[in-house]
Symmetry: C2
C-alpha cells in the first residue's frame, strides 16, 4: 500500500540582494542554511511526526541563522531595536498561536507554538508575550542578541540616505527576509508557520502580516497551508493566505493558479515585493515571487531537496 | 431616477445580561444609546458622506457610552487595566487601519482611522500606537477614564468566584460587548469598524479578533462589510469576516446564508458566544447571534431605525 505523501516547503524571504553583490560562497552559505531548515522539518515528517512540529523545527533553524530576517539577524526598527512577530497554525483543527512586537524571545515561533498549546489566546503582544514565553520556560535573551553587524550597517546606511533626501524607502532587499514553512504530514495534516523581524527602519509598534492568521500565515486540512513574505500591509488588506484557501475551496482554482494570481495580480498590483510558499493537500508546492529572488526550498514526496535564492534551483548539498 | 440605497447596521456586543436582571428603563437606555450611534452614522450617509466616515461616527458614539465594552465602559483585564483594540476598513480600496493593546486613546476607532489615513502601517500595537495617536492630535486620557463602577464590580466578582473555585470563566455577559458598525454609502462603498475592551479578566497583552482584518472586521465593495462580536480567538481561527466575503464571492451564497452558517455552524460548533452584523452591496442586513441577546440596530433604504438588545425589535425612539 502506498503511503500518503509528505512534503515541506520553506522560504527565507523575498527581495534578495542582487546576486552579483555577494560572492558565490555567500549564496552557497544561504542555500546551506535553507537546506538545514528543510532537513530539520523533513526529519520530523519522515519519522511520522506532525506537520505542526515540522514547520516549527524548520522555522527555528532559520530564526537561529543570521542569514534571515527573523530571530538572530532580524531587522532593526527606527529606534534601533528589534520587535519580532511570529505565528503558527495547525490545519487539522484550525488552532493557532501568534506573538507580535516581542523583544526577548530567542525563537518567537516557539512562543507562538506555546500560545497555540496553551489555548486561551491566539495572539499575545508586546512585553506580556515576552513574559508569557518566560513563564513557559523560554529563557529570555537581551534584545541585542538579535543584532548583526549587517543589520546595524543597513539601518545606518538607510538613515544616512534619508537624511540626504536621496531615498525615504528601504530597498526591497532591506525590507524583507521573513521566514516561513508549510508542511504536510503522513496523517494528511497541513501546518504553516512564519517569523519575522519586520523591515529595516520600521516604525516601533508596527505589526505586519506574519502574526495575522489569514494574512501571512494560514493552514486548513484538505485545502492548503500558506506562509507569506513581502510588504505585510498589502497582505493584510487582501487577507492573502486565507484568500488563496478560499479560491481552492470555493472557486475551483488549483494551488498554482490561486497562489500565482495572488502574487502576480492582487499583490503586484500595489507595486510591492511579494512572495509565498504554499502546499495543497496532495503535497503540491507553489512558491511564486515577483522580486529578483526569494530564498526558498522544498522536499516533495520523492525526498529530493531543492533550494534556491535567485532564479536557478539547486539540488540541496550541491555547493556550486 | 432612483438613488442607490444607503444602509447602516451596528452592534453593541452579543452575550447580554438576562433581560430580567435589569429594569426596563435600563434596556431603554441601551436602546437609546444604540439609536444615537445609528443616527450618527446615518446622518453621514444621508448627507451623501462616505461609509468610512459613517462607521467611524457610529462607533465613536458607542465608545463614549458606558453601556458598551469599548472606550469608556471597557472591560478590565486581569491586571485591573484597560487594553483596547479597534479596526476600520474601507471596502472601496481595501485600505485598513487598526490598533491593539492601547491604553490612553479615548476613541480607539479614531486612532485606527488615523493609521488607515497615514498609510504606512495597517496595525500598530501598544504604547507606540498610543504615541502615534497623540502625534495625530488626539489628547491622551488616563487609563482610568475607561473604568466604570460596573466593570470594576464585575472584575472583583469574577476574581472572588475564581478564588472560591466556583467558576474560572466569565459569563458570556461579562465576556463580550464589543461594538461595531457596517455601512453602505450612496456611492456604493462599503466600510466596517469594530472597537473593544476585550473581556473581563483577559490576560494582559491578549489581542482578539477586533483589530485583525479578515477576522473581526472586513469590507470589500461589491461583496460585503462585516463586524463581529464574541470570543475572538475562534473568529481569528476561522478568519470569520473574510470567510463570509469569500462565500459570497465564490460559493454563490447570499449574505444571510453565509452569515448564519458562520455563526450557527462554524462558530457555534466551538461552544462559544458569537454574533455579527453584515451588509451586502445591495444594502441587505444580516445580524445573527447565538446568545440570549445582542445589542444591535440598523437603518435600511427606507430610513426606519430598528434597535434591540434581546429578541424583540424596537422601532428606535419607542421607549416602551
Amino acid at each position: 500500500m502506498n503511503q500518503n505523501p509528505i512534503a515541506i516547503a520553506i522560504h527565507g524571504g523575498c527581495g534578495m540582494l542582487e546576486e552579483e553583490l555577494r560572492n558565490p560562497q555567500h549564496w552557497a552559505a544561504v542555500r546551506t542554511a535553507l537546506s538545514a531548515a528543510l532537513q530539520a522539518g523533513w526529519r520530523v515528517l519522515a519519522a511520522g511526526g506532525a506537520a505542526l512540529d515540522a514547520v516549527e523545527a524548520a522555522v527555528v533553524v532559520m530564526e537561529d541563522s543570521a542569514h534571515f530576517n527573523s530571530g538572530h539577524g532580524a531587522a532593526l526598527n527606527a529606534a534601533g531595536e528589534h520587535e519580532l512577530d511570529a505565528a503558527i497554525m495547525d490545519g487539522s483543527d484550525l488552532r493557532a498561536g501568534a506573538v507580535c512586537a516581542v523583544r526577548t524571545i530567542r525563537n518567537p515561533v516557539r512562543a507562538a507554538r506555546a500560545v497555540l498549546e496553551q489555548g486561551d489566546c491566539v495572539l499575545l503582544c508586546g512585553a506580556a508575550a515576552d513574559q508569557f514565553a518566560e513563564r513557559c520556560g523560554m529563557a529570555p535573551v537581551p534584545n541585542s542578541y538579535f543584532t548583526t553587524a549587517q543589520r546595524s550597517a543597513a539601518l545606518a546606511a538607510l538613515k544616512a540616505r534619508m537624511r540626504g533626501g536621496s531615498s525615504t524607502l528601504a530597498s526591497e532587499a532591506e525590507r524583507h527576509g521573513t521566514v516561513g514553512a508549510v508542511a504536510l504530514d503522513r496523517a494528511g495534516n497541513l501546518a504553516a508557520a512564519t517569523s519575522t523581524g519586520g523591515f529595516n527602519n520600521k516604525a516601533p509598534g508596527r505589526v505586519g502580516d506574519t502574526p495575522i492568521i489569514g494574512a501571512g500565515t494560514y493552514a486548513a486540512n484538505g485545502v492548503c497551508a500558506v506562509s507569506c513574505t513581502g510588504q505585510g500591509e498589502i497582505f493584510i488588506r487582501h487577507v492573502a493566505a486565507h484568500e488563496i484557501a478560499a479560491r481552492l475551496r470555493y472557486a475551483g482554482q488549483g494551488l498554482a493558479q490561486a497562489s500565482e494570481e495572488m502574487v502576480f495580480k492582487e499583490l503586484s498590483g500595489h507595486g510591492i515585493g511579494a512572495g509565498l510558499v504554499a502546499l495543497d493537500a496532495a503535497g503540491n508546492v507553489a512558491a511564486p515571487f515577483n522580486t529578483n529572488g526569494m530564498a526558498r526550498g522544498w522536499i516533495g514526496a520523492d525526498g529530493v531537496a531543492w533550494v534556491a535564492t535567485h532564479a536557478p534551483l539547486h539540488r540541496a548539498g550541491d555547493q556550486g
